[in-house]
């Protein structure tokens, strides 16, 4: 008989595992930061610092999902339209993006990049029939829409799951429709209020 009170608390366990995974990266990052701060440090050193920060960010944000927790997002002031534009560029696929005016609020840039990358993987984005992304919004609310010819990427279900999880952590939701070889995805994102300049966000 399994005694429930002796079952390891998954949340505590996963948090401890995240700490275990981050420890070597943290030590490496401190070392690289010390070098990068030196005058005349090569640009590659600063690139390495950025890559280590990105690796640490990915672990911090996504690892909680392995323990059934919500992604640990960090909301920072920014323009969602700029974040999506950069994510499409970084994805390196043929996709058109129609983004309206800037959408300034507090967003998690890593999550936005992850959403866009995984959304785009669901559509066949070859130059002959590029996927179409549209970003519309007002205030802190935004809808990111993907329409295109459906692709069958590996781990497609898991990619939809990840987009849903990240959208939910962003106070929104994601829905997908697949019909006659076409895919349509709607991702609703709710940013947080960006603090006025010079004012700390609530709680800090």
């Amino acid at each position: 008989m399994v005694r429930d009170h002796l079952t390891p608390a998954p949340v505590r366990r996963v948090r401890a595992l995240i700490h275990q995974v981050r420890s070597p990266l943290t030590a490496a990052l401190l070392r690289v930061r010390a070098w990068a701060a030196h005058e005349g440090a090569p640009r590659a050193m600063r690139d390495l610092e950025g890559a280590l920060v990105a690796a640490d960010t990915a672990i911090t944000r996504l690892f909680p999902l392995a323990g059934g927790m919500v992604p640990a997002l960090v909301f920072q002031p920014g323009d969602l339209a700029a974040l999506v534009t950069e994510a499409v560029r970084a994805a390196g696929v043929s996709a058109s993006l129609e983004a309206g005016p800037p959408l300034p609020a507090a967003w998690d840039a890593f999550a936005v990049g992850c959403i866009v990358r995984n959304l785009l993987s669901l559509a066949d984005a070859r130059p002959a029939h590029p996927a179409r992304l549209t970003l519309q919004g007002e205030g802190q609310a935004a809808v990111l829409t993907l329409v295109g010819r459906a692709a069958s990427p590996p781990l497609g279900e898991a990619r939809r799951w990840l987009v849903q999880q990240l959208a939910a952590a962003h106070g929104g939701r994601a829905t997908f429709a697949l019909e006659q070889g076409r895919v349509a995805a709607y991702v609703f994102l709710l940013g947080r209020a960006a603090s006025p300049p010079g004012e700390l966000p609530a709680g800090e």
Partner: protein, 225 residues
């Protein structure tokens, strides 16, 4: 703060996607390290620990994510010399400024085999941490091969199995351990087809034993010769 996953997405697919997402920035970091070039990144250069850190995270990521999803990790095996790994674990402990008990090693015969190097290090580190949490006195680590398996024992000298600490340890191992060190060591031993157990030695003291089967003992060539 729990967000149950939609039941239609199997854990192994979610695990695989998270592995992919987390491997991407690590690969970028590795590429940036290689772009450093020069003396800093050389085999004995000052930046080498950075690459070792990246490699360590790469080595553990898939296994630790799998364990977090409660699925058995498929560990890659490579030649490992447990003699060297035991010595490394003890040396690392003795280097700590607050190291108190004396940890002795008694290693017999050929202790090479095909296991996962990171997991072996982790098991030894975790078992040592558990043993150290039980005593301020000395510990004895012994390891020996018996046929197609190697057994590593950590004897907590002077702490009886019948003590409250010993009984608590047995309770933990009888169920699913709550202690991270014990849980991780047990799961990684199981992932090798082995097991972790606690029992009294001849003197009645607490002894943690990990058994690591070696599927092909003759194929093993220890790292570094």
């Amino acid at each position: 703060v729990s967000a149950p996953a939609p039941p239609e997405v199997p854990p192994d697919q979610r695990w695989a996607l998270l592995c992919e997402e987390l491997a991407r920035p690590l690969a970028a970091a590795r590429a940036d390290f290689e772009a450093l070039g020069g003396a800093a990144a050389a085999a004995d250069g000052p930046a080498r620990p950075v690459l070792e850190a990246i490699e360590e995270v790469e080595a553990m990521m898939a296994a630790v994510l799998a364990l977090s999803f409660d699925i058995a990790p498929a560990l890659q095996r490579q030649p490992v010399d447990l003699r060297a790994e035991c010595a490394r674990a003890v040396a690392a402990y003795h280097e700590q400024p607050l190291a108190r008990p004396r940890v002795e090693l008694r290693l017999e015969g050929d202790l090479t085999g095909r296991w996962n190097a990171w997991a072996c290090r982790r098991v030894l580190h975790d078992l040592l941490a558990v043993a150290l949490s039980l005593t301020d006195g000395p510990l004895m680590i012994s390891a020996a091969r018996a046929g197609a398996q190697v057994t590593v024992e950590i004897e907590v000298i002077g702490v009886p199995m019948s003590s409250p600490a010993g009984r608590a340890l047995l309770d933990e191992l009888g169920e699913r351990p709550r202690q991270l060190h014990l849980w991780l060591a047990a799961r990684l031993a199981e992932a090798h087809g082995g097991q972790l157990r606690a029992a009294p030695d001849a003197a009645g003291w607490i002894t943690l034993t990990v058994v690591l089967p070696d599927p092909d003992p003759r194929a093993s060539t220890p790292e570094g010769g």
